[in-house]
Each structure stands twice: as structure tokens, then as C-alpha cells.
């Protein structure tokens, strides 16, 4: 899955499941501070992305993730 589709997928999950306002979502929005998702949401997001992409993000990398761009980079690199 390319970066653009992956971004749309993440935005879809955030809006549909975590009640995030679509207008707030951007590549550089901070997941925890601006989008107000909690650590459990982050784990749920991770599980769903794993299902979509077949890729795992290492726990150490995931701890560093702050923005959607970070998530994408982690998925592309790993």
C-alpha cells in the first residue's frame, strides 16, 4: 500500500473509530496532544495497521511516534 492510501486509511480509522474531527487530521498533527487519542487507541491503531499492511512496528519505534507522518515513516522503513 502506498503512502497516500495508507494516510487515508489512518485518517479513516481516526475519524470513524476514535471520534477525531476530520479537519484536525494532517500529516503533522500530534496524535496524543492534538488528536487526543490515548495509548490504548494507539495500540488499537497499530493492530489494525498490522492487519492492513502485514507489517509490524517495533515497540521501541512506536514509542517514539508522535505524528501521522511518524507512523507512515515507521511503516515504510520497517
Amino acid at each position: 500500500m502506498d503512502k497516500e492510501n495508507l494516510y487515508l486509511k489512518i485518517r479513516g480509522i481516526l475519524v470513524d473509530q476514535f471520534d477525531v474531527e476530520e479537519a484536525l487530521v494532517s500529516m503533522d498533527a500530534n496524535l496524543y496532544e492534538e488528536l487526543e487519542i490515548d495509548s490504548i487507541d494507539a495500540v488499537d491503531l497499530l493492530v489494525q495497521l498490522k492487519e492492513v499492511t502485514g507489517q509490524k512496528i517495533a515497540p521501541e519505534t512506536f514509542k517514539e511516534v508522535r505524528t501521522i507522518r511518524d507512523v507512515l515513516n515507521a511503516l515504510i522503513v520497517s
Binding site: F18, D19, D38, S39, I40, D41, V43, L46, V47, K50, P59, F62
Partner: protein, 261 residues
């Protein structure tokens, strides 16, 4: 609550150091001889898990009794009537000191625990964790899943939602993981409030610091919160788990404030 009559500070410092030494030596013997041999003699995983957890419970109970008799600490346990049902529940406690885990495991020997990944790799601890079949926190998504799955098999599990020892002098705070596990598994929660006064073996305090007066632990087992009474959060799972987290935090915090003396 029985202890020898050496209530002075120097004695308690000595007894504390002695306690750590016993714990260390005992841990090495258990981890290198006793628990590895369980893999030879107890081939059945369930049976081994049962025996291992019972042995850990007895050893921790014995250790606690020993430091109590030596005068390192006093303690009282309230709400023993809630100890009865040990199956199928999530035990949630605050974590003010290094050693509250010891008394909790001796009170709930059959419960599963989450062990730090680093401990699992420790040469001495590896066999203990594996024999007792404790959950290890290697990956966050698997951790959540294994906790829920274990509770659904009918076992009980112990979690410390602060995620680390409490910060002295601050109100405690809970991360939402434990509430999420309880809500997703649909099991009752047994809250336990633990207080230690004066504070001892807390975060930001060296292990050999011994207060002027003998520390008194109060372990208060609170009435269980049945899964049927969990907040519903207007049908939203995220709201529901935050509300449940708040309820658990309040129940335990209230006891800690109430215990001031």
C-alpha cells in the same frame, strides 16, 4: 505483627540489608535449581504453573513474615472477606513501594502477573517466570491481547495501572490499560489500596533508606466491582474505559486519603 524487640533504627537498617540478601540468595537458588528442575519433574504445563505459582506465593509469604518478625515493617490486611473468589477477576492495586508486590502475590498466589521483559531475560528469573507462565510485556498490542485472553480462560490477573511505582507526595494516576483489559474481558475488578507509612522503598528513594519509625503497611482489599456495574460510556467503548478507569482510581484514592493517620 509479632516482632522481636529491637525497634531501633540501626537494627532495622541491618534487618533490611539482611532481607535483601535473603531475597537475592533465595532468588538465585530458586531460579537456578528449584524452578529449572520443575521442567524435568512436572511435564504438564498446567500442573507446573500451579505448583510454581503456589511455591512463589508461599516463598513470598514466608519472606514477608520474616521481615515482619525481624521488625523491618508492620502490616495489617483489611477486607480479607473479599479474598474468597480467586478465579476470573482482575486485581488492580496501586504500587507505592518495591515490596507491596510481595505481599500481594502471597495473598493471590494463583493470579497471573505481567513481568517486565528485562526480568524475563534475567538468567536467574527466567525459569521462575516461565514455570509460573506469567505474562511478559514484550509488545504492547500482544500484552493487551494476552491479558484479555488469559482472563477469558477463567484465571485471575493482577495489574498495577500506575505502570510504575507511585511518585511520593503526588496523587496517584492510572493509565487506561487495566480498565481496558477488564472491560474487554468482561470480568469483575477487585481493587486493592496499599499504603505504607512512613514511606519506605518508594520511587526516588534508595533501597537502604530506613525511616525513623517502623513503616506500617495497610493492605485494604475493597469490595469487588462487578462487570455488570461497569460504566457504559453511552455505548462508546472509549468513554466506557475512561469512566471505568476513573471509578477504579477514585475507589483506591479515596481509601488512601481515608487511611491518613
Amino acid at each position: 505483627m509479632r516482632h522481636l524487640k529491637f525497634p531501633d533504627h540501626a537494627w532495622r537498617l541491618f534487618a533490611t540489608v539482611f532481607g535483601f540478601a535473603v531475597f537475592g540468595v533465595g532468588g538465585v537458588i530458586m531460579g537456578l535449581l528449584v524452578f529449572p528442575s520443575m521442567f524435568l519433574f512436572l511435564r504438564d504445563r498446567q500442573r507446573r504453573q500451579f505448583v510454581a505459582r503456589r511455591l512463589i506465593g508461599r516463598a513470598f509469604g514466608g519472606f514477608w513474615a520474616m521481615i515482619n518478625v525481624l521488625g523491618v515493617l508492620d502490616y495489617r490486611i483489611e477486607g480479607r472477606e473479599h479474598l474468597g473468589a480467586q478465579r476470573d477477576q482482575l486485581i488492580v492495586a496501586n504500587h507505592p513501594t518495591l515490596i507491596d508486590v510481595v505481599i500481594l502475590i502471597s495473598l493471590f498466589p494463583r493470579a497471573n502477573c505481567v513481568i517486565k521483559d528485562a526480568v524475563t531475560k534475567n538468567l536467574f528469573m527466567r525459569s521462575v517466570v516461565r514455570a509460573a507462565d506469567y505474562i511478559t510485556n514484550s509488545e504492547p498490542e500482544e500484552l493487551l491481547e494476552s491479558c484479555v485472553a488469559y482472563l477469558r480462560t477463567g484465571g485471575s490477573l493482577m495489574l498495577f495501572p500506575e505502570g510504575t511505582r507511585s511518585r511520593p507526595g503526588q496523587m496517584i494516576d492510572f493509565r487506561p490499560g487495566a480498565a481496558t483489559v477488564a472491560a474487554r474481558a468482561g470480568v469483575d475488578v477487585l481493587p486493592v489500596a496499599i499504603e505504607c507509612k512512613p514511606l519506605f522503598l518508594s520511587k526516588e528513594m534508595p533501597w537502604f533508606f530506613v525511616p525513623d519509625e517502623r513503616p506500617v503497611f495497610t493492605i485494604k482489599i475493597l469490595p469487588p466491582l462487578p462487570a455488570s456495574e461497569f460504566p457504559e460510556g453511552d455505548g462508546d467503548e472509549r468513554h466506557a474505559r475512561h469512566e471505568l478507569n476513573e471509578v477504579l482510581l477514585q475507589r483506591i484514592t479515596r481509601e488512601l486519603i481515608g487511611m491518613e493517620f
